[in-house]
Amino acid sequence: MKFFQLKTILTATEFADISFSLRKGEILGFYGLVGAGRSELMQALFGITKLISGIIRIDGDEVVIGSPADAVSNGIVYVPEDRGKQGAITDLPIFQNITLPSLDRTSKNGFIRLAEEFKLARKYTKRIDLRAASLDTNVENLSGGNQQKIVIAKWLATQPKVIIMDEPTKGIDIGSKAAVHEFMAELADQGLAVIMVSSEIPEILGMSNRVIVMREGRIVSELTGNELKPETLVQYAAGINEKG
């Protein structure tokens, strides 16, 4: 049942004693104050930072993640918080952004097959309901919401098993926000395991099946069901309610 599992991982300076597991079709929320180490944890899961120790299992198999490429090939993808800096390559057209992590599938012996690229890009822009004039348009010409959609489409195109979304609706308009939420629920329904990092209490309460609260680089609490209340979240995150 436990599809994704993580045991006591740590890095030298960022976080320690992190263990959690994740089921298929579940949305696991990560709440905490800014600087609690949530993004750093996700980046470590994705192979950006090096772990000192720790075991990651997917479907019971232990996997080694040393680089983002390893993570992607193991079905873990990360939709970063700062899409301008880490998400989209704005000088490249939409279709090239979407196929970037999937180039293995749209190329043969290192040669890109344009028809395959457009096919993949069209499939996933349709899925995220992107309204843009053409797939040749450079991403820099799109609105923030549409750029976020491109970043999500890019990761969906890799057919992931675990999708990590870091502040998925930060700084985008209300319409796109609702679309992203709807979409996240849809992904979970389709059997993906979703990890959502968010600092917005309504979002985290509304979307998550379970919430892990982090404070100063450690997990302080795991909440489900009727424990999921704004006061409880904030108390744990701020360290007021310390019962372990």
């Binding site: 390559i89 090239q96 180039l103 890109i112 843009a132």
Partner: protein, 348 residues
């Protein structure tokens, strides 16, 4: 009747709008603009000196510019990945000296082997730059400034400062770049083949795509599973290989090898890239741009003496061209905004 007329009218309007848009796009494209400027330049020279536009003279100009084209392609790829390679001219000089000395020591070695050695040696030097940038994280400008001096120093050490002169080289060694095929010397063919190969590499391969991704946004490229350092390493290796190849062509064409071969040429190469619209910030550029940037400098260099303009003006004109190119880049980057209006979507 009336409605079909209206329909026809609307369609005409649509067509003119599309045509206008396509024309605008064509005219505003950097390559087209540069092409136009080069043609105007050639036209102006032809008014003063009609023989300039004979086919054989233009072919000569192209042949003269071939080394610059070869190096500009490599440099373009390096700049695309947010790096710079200042060691290309020194690489060229060292490879040229080594192959010339091989030719003197072992005249029996066939030219094919010489070319393979030149490309290989150049690639090794480029890879050395690339490794320093990748593994030690040293800024590329510092790495290549260092290796530039090291490579020149090695040329001096292995040659003791002596020249390898024409009469010491074998005929076969000197003949290759001049050997004509369909009216063009092999020197020109090498540049043409390199343009074609790298056009394909940059637009149709995953390697080419990774160069654009790394330069456009290194963070996003990392998140997409691309190893930024490794891409930069390959860019330097390609640049080095092309510099090595040019080293042999240069030394055999001018039939002399010495320490200061192509001294300062790395700046011409960077200039060609900048004029060709390659963004120094990385991520934007094309093989066509590098080719046209090199041709622009080549035409200026060859045309101005013909119409009796002093060589100092050549420098001034090349310099102005660089500044104008960078200014145009900055302007075009500022001008276009996001597409939010529905009515603006169609023009994209």
């Amino acid at each position: 009747m009336n409605s079909s007329l209206k329909h026809w009218f609307n369609m005409q309007q649509e067509l003119t709008r599309k045509a206008k848009y396509m024309l605008k796009r064509l005219v505003t494209s950097r390559e087209a603009l540069l092409m136009l400027i080069i043609l105007v330049l050639i036209g102006l020279v032809a008014i003063r000196f009609p023989r300039f536009i004979t086919l054989s003279n233009l072919a000569g100009v192209f042949n003269d510019t071939s080394p610059l084209i070869l190096l500009a392609i490599g440099q373009m790829i390096v700049i695309l990945t947010k790096c710079i390679d200042l060691s290309v001219a020194a690489n060229l000089a060292l490879t040229g000296m080594v192959v010339a000395m091989i030719n003197v020591a072992a005249p029996g070695v066939p030219v094919v082997v010489i070319i393979i050695v030149a490309v290989g040696l150049g690639a090794v030097m480029g890879a050395f730059n690339g490794l320093l940038v990748w593994k030690l994280d040293i800024p590329p400008i510092v790495v290549t400034l260092g290796t530039m001096t090291i490579f020149r120093g090695i040329v001096f050490l292995i040659s003791n400062g002596k020249w390898v002169n024409s009469h010491e080289m074998t005929q076969a060694f000197k003949a290759f770049p001049r050997y004509e095929l369909f009216g063009l010397p092999m020197m020109s063919w090498t540049a043409i083949i390199a343009v074609i190969i790298f056009f394909i590499v940059m637009t149709r391969t995953t390697l080419g795509r990774s160069f654009y991704a790394v330069g456009g946004n290194p963070h996003a490229a990392t998140y997409a599973g691309i190893n930024v350092g490794r891409s930069q390493f390959w860019a330097f290796t390609i640049s080095g290989a092309l510099a090595g190849l040019t080293g042999y062509l240069w030394v055999s064409r001018y039939a002399v090898a010495y320490v200061n071969v192509a001294g300062g040429f790395e700046l011409d190469v960077v200039a060609a890239c900048v004029i060709g619209g390659i963004s120094i910030a990385g991520g934007i550029g094309s093989v066509g741009g590098a080719l046209l940037g090199a041709l622009f400098l080549g035409v200026i260099k060859n045309a101005l003496p013909v119409i009796n303009v002093s060589p100092f003006w050549q420098l001034a004109i090349s310099g102005s061209a660089i500044i104008i190119a960078v200014a145009l880049n900055a302007r075009s980057n500022r001008n276009h905004g996001r597409i939010i209006l529905k009515s603006a979507e169609n023009t994209q």
